[in-house]
Amino acid sequence: MKTDTEFWNAVNAALDERRDPLADERVQDELAEHPERLDELLVLQRRLPLLSRAPERRRVTPFVVAAAGLLALGVGLAVAWIRGASEPQASIMQPHDPGDIVDFRLEVVRQRGGLSSSVIVDPHGVRADSAALGDDAVAYFSIERSRGNQP
C-alpha cells in the first residue's frame, strides 16, 4: 500500500464500519511505512467528535436574504399599522394620501414531504412554526388599505 488514496480507503472503510482505524491492519501497514500519515488521521479523529459540539454555521442563501428582507418589510408595515391605528385621524386628507393600511399579511411557507413550515407576519405579530425554512420556501404577501383620496 503506497499511495495516500489507499491509506484513506483503509481509514474510511474502518470508519464506515465504526471501527477504530488505528486498529485496522491495512491502516497499520500504511502507517508503518508512512508514519507521517498518522498526523492527518489524528486530526480527523480529534475533529470528528467535535461535529456534535461545533457551533452551527448556517450558510446565508439568497432565500434567507430574501426572507429576512420580507420579514423586515413586514415588521415595518406592522409598526406603521400600529402607529396609524393609535394616531388621531387627520380631519383633512392630504393630497395623494394612499390611505391607511388596515390589514396586511406576509407568509413564507415551505412544504416538503407532507410537512409544512411557515413564518407569518401580520398585525398581530410574527409567528413561526419552524425557523428551518429551506431554499424551496414560497413567500406570500398581501396588503389592504383604506380607500384614501387617490383617483
Binding site: 484513506w8 480507503n9 481509514v11 474510511n12 470508519l15 464506515d16 488505528l22 486498529a23 497499520q28 501497514d29 502507517l31 508503518a32 511505512e33 508514519p35 498518522l38 498526523d39 492527518e40 488521521l41 489524528l42 486530526v43 480527523l44 479523529q45 480529534r46 475533529r47 470528528l48 467528535p49 467535535l50 461535529l51 456534535s52 459540539r53 461545533a54 457551533p55 452551527e56 454555521r57 448556517r58 450558510r59
Partner: protein, 175 residues
Amino acid sequence: MQPFGAGGGKRGSVSLRLTHQPKRTAGALDLEPELPKLRALLGKLAPAREVDDLVQEVVARALRYRDTFDGERELGPWLAKTALHVYLDHRARLAREGPVEEATERAAAPDESFEERELVANLLAKLPSVERDVLVRFHQRGESVREIASALRIPEGTVKSHLHRARKRLAEEQP
C-alpha cells in the same frame, strides 16, 4: 518503570545492537537508530509521561519476537507496527482500569478545544451542502450509510463517496 537506557548512566549509552538469527538473514537487530522515530510516533499517540515506558515495551517486544522479523526487510516499519500494537494494548489496558486520555483528547486542551470547535464549525460551513449533510448524519446523528442513502434518495456508494471526501477535507484543512 525506568525509561529504556536511563538509570545507571547517560541515556542512550546502552548498546542496543543485538545479535539475532532471523529466518532468512543472519544479522543484528539494530534498534538504537530507530528509537527517535519510535519516540516520535508514540509521542503523537500517548501523553509524554507514558512515552518512555511505551518505547521500552516496544523494544522488549521486538526482542521477544525478533525471530519473526524478516531480515531482508526494513526494521523501521516492523518496529512502527509493533509500536502501534503496543500503544493499542496499552490503551486497552488503561480503558479496563479507568478513563482513557485519548490522543485526541490529550491534544486538545480547553482553549485549543474551543478553537478546534470553531474551526470545525467553519470547515463544516465550507463543505458542499451534501457532504456536510452526510457527514453530520453519519458522525453526529449516528445514522447508517443505508439510512442516509434512503433519506437523501441517493445510492449508498454515493453516500460513501461524499462521506470520504468530507472526512479528508476535515483532516487536511489547516487552521
